[in-house]
Symmetry: C2
Subunit: 332 residues, 2 copies
């Protein structure tokens, strides 16, 4: 029987194509909104997988559009009752469900303060969509698996289009290559079986990525952890090698996210020391499709999705309902 | 034989007292510098334990001083060659060694762009100190253990004093209570033996904290991981319960950071579900000394330091040289 998870992984190229068709013609309007009312920076608010997508924009928008991005700490608003100072900022919120109360709270505060707000969500009728001035509807269709896949890659794409809107004039043509690249990635299962075999013997692991693909390391760690029960810790190579590497060894595999882009060299620099400590090493995203490096996170996550799915199967997990999880982050 | 680690943990109250005596009289000068050249926000750059200290300021300065804080992504500068847009910002760098090349690079770029820069470091002769306009010398004395302890708590304190400088006029009196509170914390070993016994059977664990004490969860996880080889993953309760909780169970203890401050309620909200899954639960920072909540991270880390130290002893680790680690993060 086909699971929701499998179907949703396979849908990613079509979801991407539809999103780009709808969103690219809106770039001028999106730009006007994100730079309205004197906004010159972006305050980015998200939770869970959407927060991993936000990590991509945290690198992408400065690199490609020269825009300073501040990742929100939503509990400032909900725990400490302190609205952030948003004088210079537009607020972009990312939430597939549109129902994370603390994400909604930040957008409501920004709107009340008269700042431009934009919601990236898969539910245009959600509280988040109602709170924001402008809504980017992912249009990914219902995501029934608890583990986000198609809403993650489509969130990355939406954030890439917003990067074009914010100033990356040259990005539009590259974006058109994404659906074909995703189609190649979701059918390219090279290495999945071997990677799953390595992880099957492990109850813990580390995932290493840097720069644009620090997001990919975080999201790979999250997929494997929530779908399989193997606890995976994401690190940048600098932070891993400075201390936590002491916990890496023969029973602790290392997943290295290594697509063809500038930050990958320093991820690979960590490989000899990880091997010296006896850690099994899995390289993810190395044989990726022909996309420019700045878009590599959109396809580099796919091997991690396939690995998590296969490992869950090997362990007999009900992948659509792993570990009694609920779909919406309801933390206030 | 007394280890460097033990000695340095014990030194923390004296280091704190000396730092406050030196730094509190400079508050007006620090304020003038951090708000010079039109600066109205802070761009905060750090790595490793210092990055955990920076997480504290990420909450503290907005809550107590109304200042927006952006955590830097140093690889923007060193990997992608993109200097951040710092028009509105003062730059504060935290590095005990003052020798992390990517932290130094960000400060050099900021200085070249004419922005105000300030370095918090334990080495006033380091490259970082040379690059910055103003240096806050932690004056903690040489830290010989690879695991940072006294430089972590003194970095937190330095950042708290900078918070006073940035606008938290009422904070100075509370800060004077810190040395006594730290003295109580480093001698109060209640619970350490029991906590270490719980962790001794585990090769992995999670640490949970929120808001001001998300920093404490990250630093507790780092201390235990680097000193003992047990892999500990830090989470906010929202992000843990949304997915990774699937990997928590009887063999995966949960360390909850629960000092008396507003974010603790939602950390404790996670406890029943963690127990339902069979996870052994350890509460850290609950019986802390009488400090106001906004300073709780300075003492709430101490039970984690004591736990990591005791667990390392039980495992026969050479705590001053665990896992062949080096002291400086040399990633570019």
């Amino acid at each position: 029987m086909t699971t929701h998870l499998e179907r949703e992984i396979r849908e990613q190229p079509d979801v991407a194509a539809r999103l780009l068709d709808r969103l690219l013609p809106q770039v001028a309007d999106l730009r006007a909104h994100l730079t309205s009312r004197g906004a010159e920076q972006v305050y980015l608010v998200a939770r869970g997988s959407s927060d991993n997508a936000a990590r991509y924009a945290q690198y992408l928008w400065p690199v490609r559009a020269g825009v300073t991005v501040t990742l929100a700490t939503p509990s400032l608003a909900t725990v400490y009752g302190v609205p952030p100072d948003l004088r210079r900022q537009a607020v972009v919120a990312v939430s597939q469900s549109g129902r994370s109360p603390d994400v909604v709270a930040v957008v409501e505060q920004a709107r009340d303060a008269g700042r431009p707000t934009l919601a990236v969500t898969n539910d245009p009728a959600s509280p988040l969509a109602e709170a924001a001035d402008v809504v980017v509807d992912l249009g990914a269709g219902a995501e029934r698996s608890v583990a986000a896949t198609k809403t993650y890659t489509s969130s990355l794409l939406a954030l890439a289009v917003l990067g074009v809107a914010l100033g990356d004039a040259a990005g539009g043509d590259d974006l058109r290559k994404v659906p074909d690249a995703l189609a190649a990635a979701v059918t390219g299962t090279t290495g999945t079986e071997e990677s799953a075999a390595v992880l099957q013997r492990a109850d813990r692991a580390v995932a290493v990525g840097r720069g644009l693909n620090l997001a990919t390391a975080h999201e790979t760690a999250l997929k494997v952890t929530e779908l399989t029960g193997t606890l995976v810790v994401p690190w940048s190579p600098a932070d891993l090698m400075h201390g936590p590497v002491a916990a890496v060894g023969p029973h602790v595999p290392a997943l290295l996210v290594v697509p063809d882009e500038p930050a990958t060299a320093s991820v690979l620099d960590a490989e000899p020391e990880l091997r010296r400590r006896g850690a099994p090493v899995v390289l993810l995203g190395r044989d990726g499709p022909e996309l420019p490096g700045w878009l590599s996170p959109v396809t580099a996550i796919v091997p991690g999705q396939l690995l998590a799915w296969r490992l869950a199967e090997l362990r007999g997990v009900d992948v659509d309902h792993p570990g009694d999880l609920s779909k919406v982050t309801l933390t206030r």
